[in-house]
């Protein structure tokens, strides 16, 4: 079973793992609040056997070149996140390193109308900001690809405004940075 990582011409299939977009991260493991070193690989680093990537935020090995993230996956990931908006598990849609995560999650759960629904109409402006790979950490021992993706999404919120007794539709276009997890299946894998 060959496991070439994201190299030229390598055929691989990405399986979006929406179910684990984010998980609970216990106290004390928050990401750092200022920039991290992204070490440039040098012969010295290599001979010392040190990891050239120190992507603490994503936690994994660096890739030689980015793996493209399919557009429908970006849309699907946003839908998974927004389907939780206003629901009991709103908190799980926000990354543990999200600035003021709990305050935002508390507020949404407190104030969102109970019949509100947030739809993703379209995405644009997709860019993979950074990626890391965790060998063997995916389902069935597959490699797990973690990507931080920037996108602009047009969303639509519908709800019944009980104060004015009116059905409301609010649209917005905003920029988002999302963290996505993919299990990588390559040609020849079972």
């Amino acid at each position: 079973m060959r496991r070439a990582i994201a190299r030229n011409g390598t055929k691989f299939a990405l399986a979006l793992m929406a179910a684990i977009l984010v998980g609970l991260v216990a106290a004390g493991s928050d990401g750092r609040g200022f920039r991290q070193a992204q070490r440039i690989p040098t012969p010295e680093l290599l001979s010392e056997g040190r990891d050239a990537s120190s992507f603490k935020g994503l936690g994994g090995l660096a890739l030689d070149q980015p793996i493209p993230i399919p557009r429908p996956d970006v849309k699907a990931a946003l839908e998974t996140i927004f389907n939780r908006w206003g629901k009991g598990d709103t908190r799980l849609a926000l990354n543990a390193n999200f600035v003021n995560r709990d305050r935002l999650a508390d507020l949404i759960r407190d104030l969102a109308p109970r019949d509100a629904r947030l739809r993703v109409l379209e995405v644009a402006n997709i860019e993979v900001l950074d990626q890391a790979i965790q060998p063997g950490k995916g389902p069935n021992g597959r490699d797990l690809l973690i990507s931080r993706v920037a996108t602009t999404a047009t969303t639509q919120l519908t709800f019944t405004d009980r104060v004015n007794n009116r059905f409301q539709t609010l649209s917005g276009t905003n920029d988002y940075v999302i963290q996505m997890f993919h299990a990588i299946r390559r040609e020849g894998d079972q």
């Binding site: 216990a26 003021n100 508390d106 900001l129 019944t160």
Partner: protein, 721 residues
């Protein structure tokens, strides 16, 4: 419409024409051959509309429009230490739904080059990058440029990274090059120092120029982090102090201010705890930061992580915002969050519990509210086919402020069950569900209920998902009852490098008083992806090759020998490096030398090829005793260490059985195996102890295009005895 077709044709020609041209005129575009190229072209058309009450026509009035997107990527590795990545994302947008602007848009462009095999390693970025210094100074996507140097000063234990950058906050390059591109710009620099075991320190400064009511200004920050052990506790301390000096007064009448942050986090066995303090004065208003201005915040967290993955955490948070204004709002929150994975549960039920109480009080009395909220989610596999999920939520909000005085109570239940299905070669799931909720505001009640159904099927390149969601709302007199239906369907078919997608949405709303209204949208899209690897030809500059096999002293990098390169070139690389001459040994060229300086047993470098081209390059290292004893085990571990240090964690690692007597026999029957693999651009590097027909026990490392399955006992240079 004509405009759209033209643009699509242009984008299509741009994407495919590039490659056709290359194929026909290799000389003219020869420089592209060393780049790996890839990308996709996406075309989408949408029809939407509706009828009846405009409020129900949520997708807008009747219209047909669409867009095209081109995503291009190029990558070149001059060597392992010198690479360039370029990407571009452009669109022709005639869609009302997508983005905010229409027309031809260059939305993203990014070029990143880096080089590490020079005195001062550097990284250059043009175009889009994420401008991040710290949460309190700058955290924003930028378009512009950034240069980073990682110089080594006398003390090589400390890592230095110096960055200079400048960029605008704009969504596309049309704005960047237009006058509007000056709306928000940030320029600055930072110096990061990191030292293993000691911590990190960052000095940074940024000047932000913003059009509009926000003041321009400079932000300076000093941030640090350190980890230490104290009384058996593993602790991390992080702190930042930042100063903002604005060019004009903000809403609070201040033009400068200070920000402080300190956080301590610790863990010991399963315990996790942390405390955090933030204080931002009224004048601290950096335009590019991610913070809430004019606030004080502190929190404490305490939790436990069990061995089986279960977690529980309690938190207390206190926040004061708009402290300089009469509307100052203080919020206190107590919360508990716990998860129990189904695998750790005695009853096979996975649980998530989220409870909090939040007190909000404003100084002017407008807001005085206490909210209580509890959520419980339980998931359980009922049998081999069904998995059920139950969600319970209850909330009570007590309002005693000037603006709102009515209390609000809420209770809701959601239940669904997912069944795995296999149907005519398709696999998927089927999820019926139901929700029931009641909300009471003062004396008014709203009951919401309705069924939901989700279906997912995939197979043979086809994917289908559908969702139906009905919501009936019954209310007391004075409020409007309504029935809402949402239907969503997506289908996609992938064939080769192409994908066809269809998305359809329908929504209807039928209020008891007023008119029925509905809306729909149907989206059809086509995506073509392309991928062309860089040329890998004799002497070519593929990623894993092109480098010097002896760049590390005392080591030979077998991946520098690319399968397919001329045998004579490979031979010359070894001989010009002043190494042993190679001699023909059957089908192989073999040279004896101390290729791994730390190892003192016999070592042979072998090149095996056919028709003048290299097929496999490898190293054969004899073990001191060759009987599987302790000396052999130690020697093997040392060789393995050398490879791990160079290539990092292997993607395949098989260690079966222990060193000991009859290691040769046990190698053949598979009860002793040592196989490690590292994948590369031009092949796979394998290290291990193969079973040999002649019964010899030795270590071999081979770089080849492909390797036999790791389960196969005999591999290696059988031809070299």
């Amino acid at each position: 419409m004509k405009r759209r077709v033209l643009a699509a044709a242009f984008l299509g020609a741009a994407s495919t024409g590039l490659f056709d041209a290359r194929a026909e005129e290799p000389d003219m575009l020869d420089f592209l051959a060393d780049w790996s190229l890839g990308g996709s072209l996406h075309l989408s058309g949408e029809r939407r509309g509706g009828g009846g009450d405009p409020a129900g026509q949520i997708f807008g009035p009747e219209a047909t429009d669409g867009f095209a997107e081109l995503d291009l990527r190029a990558n070149r590795a001059f060597s392992r230490f010198h690479t360039w990545d370029i990407s571009l994302f452009a669109s022709f947008d005639d869609s009302e739904t997508r983005g905010v602007k229409d027309g031809f848009l260059l939305e993203r462009f990014r070029a990143v080059g880096q080089r590490g095999d020079v005195d001062t390693p550097w990284r250059l970025e043009f175009g889009d990058y994420f401008g991040f210094l710290s949460e309190r100074s700058l955290q924003s996507p930028l378009k512009g440029g950034r240069i980073e140097l990682q110089p080594e000063f006398g003390d090589s234990e400390t890592f230095h990274s110096v960055q200079l950058f400048g960029g605008n906050v704009v969504r596309d390059y049309n704005d960047f090059f237009a006058k509007e591109g000056d709306d928000e710009a940030h320029f600055g620099g930072s110096w990061l120092m990191e030292r293993q075991g000691l911590g990190a320190l960052l000095f940074s400064g940024v000047y932000s120029a913003v059009e509009g009511p926000v003041a321009d200004g400079a932000t300076f920050s000093l941030a640090g982090e350190t980890g230490f052990e104290l009384a058996g506790q593993s602790l991390t301390f992080e702190s930042e102090i930042a100063w903002f000096d604005g060019d004009a007064e903000n809403a609070t009448g201040k033009d400068d201010g200070l920000a402080l942050m300190a956080a301590l986090a610790g863990q010991s066995d399963g315990w996790r705890y942390s405390g955090r303090f933030e204080d931002y004065s009224a004048g601290f208003a950096p335009p590019g930061s991610a913070i809430i201005q004019d606030q004080r915040f502190y929190e404490g967290r305490f939790g436990y992580l069990f061995d089986d993955g279960a977690q529980v955490e309690g938190r207390y948070q206190h926040q004061e915002v708009q402290r300089a204004l009469a509307t100052e709002l203080a919020t206190e929150t107590f919360g508990v969050f716990a998860t129990l994975p189904a695998s750790a549960s005695t009853y096979g039920t996975g649980l998530t519990l989220d409870i909090f109480r939040r007190d909000e009080t404003s100084r002017d009395g407008a807001t005085d509210r206490i909210s209580h909220n509890a959520f419980l989610n339980a998931t359980r596999a009922l049998d081999e086919a069904w998995t059920a999920t139950l969600g319970l939520e209850a909330a009570l909000t007590e309002n005693a402020g000037v603006l709102v005085t009515e209390d609000v109570q809420f209770a809701g239940v959601e239940f669904d069950a997912t069944r795995a299905i296999a149907l005519a070669g398709f696999q998927g799931s089927f999820t019926p569900g139901f929700r029931l909720q009641v909300e009471e505001t003062g004396n008014d009640s709203v009951y919401g209920y309705g069924p939901q159904l989700g279906v997912f099927l995939a197979g043979g390149g086809h994917g289908l998902s559908a969702r139906v969601d009905l919501l009936f709302q019954d209310t007391d007199a004075g409020l409007i009852d309504a029935a809402e239906a949402s239907l969503g369907l997506t289908y996609d078919y992938t064939f080769g490098q192409n994908r066809i997608g269809v998305e359809a949405d329908y929504f209807s709303r039928d209020p008891e008083v007023g008119r029925f209204g509905d809306g729909y949208r149907v989206l059809v899209s086509f995506t073509h992806s392309f991928d062309r690897p860089a040329r890998t030809q004799p002497g070519g500059a593929g990623f894993a090759g092109g480098g010097d096999p002896f760049v590390q002293t005392g080591f030979v990098d077998l991946t520098a020998f690319q399968p397919g390169m001329a045998l004579a070139d490979a031979q010359a690389e070894i001989e010009t490096a002043g190494r042993s001459a190679l001699f023909r040994f059957g089908p192989a060229l073999v040279g004896e030398d101390r290729w791994l300086r730390e190892i003192d047993t016999r070592q042979r470098l072998a090149l095996v090829g056919g028709l003048g081209r290299l097929e496999r390059a490898g190293l054969i290292v004899d073990l001191p005793a060759g009987n599987g004893g302790a000396a052999d085990a130690r020697a093997f571990e040392r060789i393995k260490e050398l490879f791990l240090k160079t290539y990092g964690p292997p993607s395949v690692a098989i260690e079966t059985g222990d060193f000991g007597p009859d290691i040769a026999g046990r190698s053949r029957d598979g009860s002793f195996r040592r196989v490690y693999e590292w994948p590369g651009a031009n092949g796979v590097l394998r290290l291990g102890i193969p079973a040999r027909l002649d019964g010899a026990v030795r270590v071999e490392a081979i770089h080849a295009r492909t390797q036999p399955p790791p389960g196969q006992a005999t591999w290696g240079f059988q031809e070299i005895r």
